[in-house]
Subunit: 285 residues, 2 copies
């Protein structure tokens, strides 16, 4: 259900939809190069607030292909009031639980265990404060130093164009965040994670928005390169098994620790869209 | 690492180990009837408290067979101090965080989608209070009314021998507990769930212990009957797929909501033993 957006919210929402279009077109192109005619299916969903007011909604994009075993690219624009319990945990929402959020969220589970999986998410949040957040991290079942280095280098250059402190700070943030305490392992080889890039002044919007756009563009530049480099490699049954076990860890992280998942489930988001991050198939020993 | 037990704790621990032996022998017998020589592998684990004092431990029992695709039967006896954050959530631990727990925990994921999966757990907890808790619930991928009725009837009769209020109360508790809010579905067809059957007087131990023993005996009586009734049924690819999707829901419940899983992960239990409840293989659409 449509909610009314102000200029900043409209500009951000439009960008996330454009980025979605560009990413999905590129992923479908990769499928075509592999001789597959797989395409994204788009499933719109509406959200209603508990008081019956319009709560926004989103579009879940899902493709099951030859190279992309399962990839979800979701955009959503939602608004309403946080529950009392949740409001206290959110920046600027303690005394006024109203919120607005628009963003893009992507998780790709690749068929070939040599092709790294990936997660990317960027968003614009408004409570009594306004800020951008997001990040991208690489999750190979079989890590490869060259891929890891290329992925980080591209994010590093995107960050460097905006603030010399961003990359080291956001890389560490990803290392701290994408960690599975009960297994004492990271869920992947990291990337960047950032949150609360706040608009202290109205004029901060343009530069913070430009940074979040550049993170999206960096992702769109580097990830398809890594896919094309590895997608024709052969794999063994043991490597596929290793991937399925590794995906179990990924599911553990997302269900036990991920704040985005909790945010979605607690704010009445679309369950299928939220849990699109879960792997198509996983094993536990 | 061994911890010193008082008489009640010793008696309870001994029973949980005996029950484990009987259950595992029966499950291995079922495998033998199906022409398989699958047997439980037992993996002991030790636990050390953060202050270096003995924290107890347990034995993880795991069998991967022809009928039981993956079944875990764990016993453990642990003691120490709850973290400040966790102590406030536990009965009788708010002002004194010391705890002791001994129990048995079982989850069976069956190969044949017509054979119901099952969970059973009983335990004796000591903080400044002492109580028994536990339950058993049936989790068929393809529910069958006859099996559901037989399972509930056997638990109903075990409860009825102790207290006429137990079955209706504990059945409702299971219905309330084994529920996946974000999907608005129950994780299975229920059973019983109980907690805080407290020892108000020293003399309460015998009757409360007798009830928990009878829950274990009822499980051992009914579940093998259901397995033998269904284990030779044929299944289709579609039914196996339905089971794998259903197992994804089961993993979601255990990782997002299950208090036993949270208890284990937060008290430094053995991760492999705690997460033995996760399915051998699961799928998400």
């Amino acid at each position: 259900m449509t909610i009314i957006l102000d200029d900043q919210q409209q500009v951000a929402q439009t960008w996330f939809a454009e980025l979605r279009d560009q990413i999905c077109a590129e992923f479908e192109k990769i499928e075509a190069e592999a001789g597959s005619d797989a395409a994204f299916e788009y499933i719109p969903w509406d959200r209603e607030n508990p008081d019956g007011s319009p709560g926004g909604g989103g579009i879940q994009g899902l493709m099951k292909g030859k190279i992309f075993e399962k990839v979800g690219v979701n955009i959503s624009t939602v608004g309403g009031m946080f529950s009392d319990e949740f409001a206290g945990q959110i920046n600027g929402a303690k005394d006024d639980p109203r919120f607005f959020a628009t963003g893009i969220s992507l998780v790709a589970h690749m068929a070939n265990p040599h092709v790294p999986n990936v997660h990317m998410n960027t968003r614009f949040l408004c409570t009594t404060k306004r800020w951008f957040g997001g990040g991208a991290d690489l999750n190979p079942a079989i890590p490869n130093e060259e891929d890891t280095e290329e992925f980080h280098a591209r994010l590093r250059s995107a960050c460097a164009a905006h603030n010399p402190e961003y990359y080291p700070r956001f890389k560490k943030w990803a290392d701290d965040y994408f960690y599975i305490p009960h297994r004492q392992v990271h869920r992947g080889v990291g990337g960047i994670f950032y949150d609360h890039i706040e608009l202290d002044h109205e004029s901060d919007f343009d530069r913070h928005f430009a940074f979040t756009q550049d993170v999206g563009r960096a992702f769109l530049d580097i990830f398809p390169k890594l896919v094309r480099k590895r997608m024709n490699m052969e794999w063994t049954d043991e490597e596929k098994e290793q991937q399925l076990i590794w995906r179990g860890r990924y599911a553990e992280f997302n269900l036990v620790y991920d704040r985005g998942t909790a945010f979605g489930l607690k704010t009445g988001g679309n369950v299928d869209a939220i849990l699109m991050s879960l792997p198509p198939e996983a094993k536990w020993k």
